[in-house]
Amino acid sequence: MSTPLLEVEDLTTTFSTDNGDLTAVDGVGFTVDEGETVCIVGESGSGKTVATESITRIVKEPPGRVEGTVRFKGSDLMSMSDEELRRIRGNGIAHIFQNPQEAMNHCYTVGWQIAEALQIHEDVPDEEARARAVDLLDRVGIANASARFDDYPHEFSGGQKQRVMIAMALVGDPDLLIADEPTTALDVTVQAQILKLLDELQDEFDMGVLFVTHDLGVVAQIADRIVVMYAGKVMERGGVLDIFEHPAHPYTQQLLNCVPEIGGNEGGIPGTLPNPRDPPDGCRFAPRCSYAEQACRTGEQPEELEVSPGQRVSCIHYRDGRDPSLLRENAPGVESGSNEVSSADD
């Protein structure tokens, strides 16, 4: 077995605030292989964004404090100097964000901004930087790229700005692209265009993609593997088919049930996310979980157990000697809904 492109183990990010420490990400672990797409899903406040920003340590330190292990192509990012880390950012790992407006400078042309990013990473003359920036704009589907080089960000639509952001991310030919809700602010028709573009570029540049989203429809379409986060912890992770068809953790089941096309749960998940300054003992989801028992509410978050090859779940009901079948009662998946689709496909 080759080493994964990205290995995250026991990643913990704490922010010190006036009201005490706040642990946004608490002992998170997952991997991304070369060329694969891993989706992190979870509600707002689950720590998914902070987790991805902790990987390249673009989280502000202080007030943040990142601990744990992050290995990129085998080398440990946590022990790197700022100088070494800067070389990884952009060249090895690139980021795109939800809101392209805020990630660009309004006072410079988009072409200039791409060329600048290029010249930071490589010593190339202006002429060549311009040519390559035009080429990148063209590759992300900006029509008439050489003329649009000199346009300012406000002259682009939301979808086009996201294309420009993608072009900027591709400057260093990264091996891993971290995309944080890149399509959430866009309309469905534009979202479809951007997802298609990302898919094409992933093949072309042979990138691994770590995609953060709360939209399970998007996840189903693009993910190879899924990491389900809740209140700073990983509840479950596994292949896309396993998670959608045999979700093991009660939280994953309830989350999927909230999707109109899958579940019949019209009422949502009762309760709210726990206070991150004072998380509950035991499983973080226990206060909202209908299967929770006394053992769920004591100690630490349950250890991860492998329920099927590659699918790991953090829930005591899957421990040896226990019968997890009662959790399947209300579970979405092949049994309840998508029978037609899957049989037609096989």
């Binding site: 509600e43 707002s44 035009v134 080429d135 063209d138 029509a143 008439n144 790229a145 050489s146 003329a147 639509s157 939301g158 979808g159 086009q160 309309d187 469905v188 028709t189 534009v190 979202q191 479809a192 265009q193 997802l195 298609k196 709360h214 939209d215 399970l216 429809g217 998007v218 996840v219 189903a220 379409q221 993910a223 896309v240 088919l241 959608f244 309830q254 989350l255 999927l256 909230c258 999707v259 109109p260 096309e261 899958i262 749960n265 019209e266 009422g267 949502g268 998940i269 009762p270 709210t272 998508s338 689709v341 899957s342 496909d345």
Partner: protein, 445 residues
Amino acid sequence: MTDEPILSVRDLKKHYPIRKGIFNRQVGAAKAVDGIGFDIAPGETLGLVGESGCGKSTAASSVIRLEEPTAGEVVFNGNGRGGATRNPDGTHPNDVTRFSDAELKRFRRGAQMIFQDPASSFDPRMTVGGAVAEMLEVHGMSDRHRRRAIVEDLLERVGLSATDYDRYPHEFSGGQKQRIALARALVLNPDLIIADEPVSALDVSIQAEILSLIDDLQTEFDLSLLFISHDMSVIRRICDRVAVMYLGEIVEVGPTDEVFADPQHPYTEALLSSIPTPDPRSTVGGIELAGTVPSPTNPPSGCRFHTRCHRVIQPDGIDVDQSDWRGILNFRDRVAAGRVDVESIRENVAVDGGPASDGEVGAQLRTEFDIGERIGDPEIEDTLQDAIDRLLAGDDEEAAELLSDRFTTPCAETVPERTVHSEGHESSCLRHQREQAAAPNPADD
């Protein structure tokens, strides 16, 4: 109750003037809403769906007169106003657009609005109870204790507790704030609520909660709803009927199930097919819409969707593959706009040494516009190739002229009328209009 609609909108327009120069001369208008019409029956939920910039929010604020509509009629029959007949001069006594200030204030008791961002729709220095009770005070309830009792009761009915009365907005989560917004909308006991993207800022799990609350309250208070959203799955869950907007116009309206199962307008079809399905086994063959929504200042002639439509009609005498046809039209428009950069294509094609031949550049152009290598119809093929040759020779204008002379579509010339597909399901597409004109008895199917 009669079966007259609670809200009846006809030919509503909202144009924003564009002014220029020292005399502020009006040089044009952004036609945000351009002649829309719909009815909402008592107790019914009508969804208004479309992409950003299509005018759905402007439509909502014009209906409730947060903005003055440019033209049109909005007849509101709720709150005891029903049963009125038209004045002799053809105007309607219940026409919101003609209300005086006093009537408008009374109207706002009967029609309330909820906004997308619950954080910015509350005064941070006012307790939430105070914010809800203020509505009662403005509308003349002077008894402080009674106001408090009503609001406390209402807070409980939207799933909060009476003790929340004295808390401030920042103490609540987004979903809770939206519950308070619902309480505020309900406190005057309206007949109609206009909800502008009320759940778009919330997480899926909270969304589901709020939607089912809206559903319950609707039954409890016998409300009619105009529900605006860009999210088709939300619309599907809550609406009885749905109206699809594109560039200031309603292109299709019908019962929600029917529109989702059998969309008639190509835009609805494209919109529905771009929703990612939450099933990892399905591989979507989504219809890809080219380009972006045109500017409402200068909307396309004929059917406004024809510049992006995948089903754009071929004129008599042309019969080519539909995707080639779309490609040819895109090519025509881009050449006409002078936005085909032959030189950069030539540079890109020329990889190893020597300059690219015209043939190679031409082939690249065809790939870029998704036009096949050879069009079946030799006459079309000749015209197209002729235009490409001229373009490569630098004769941009001649190429543009040739293309726009030969390749036209009826969609650009005729404004489509409404065609009825079944009870209450209508769309505005020239294809259906033609089909129905050809069929002897369209009403029977």
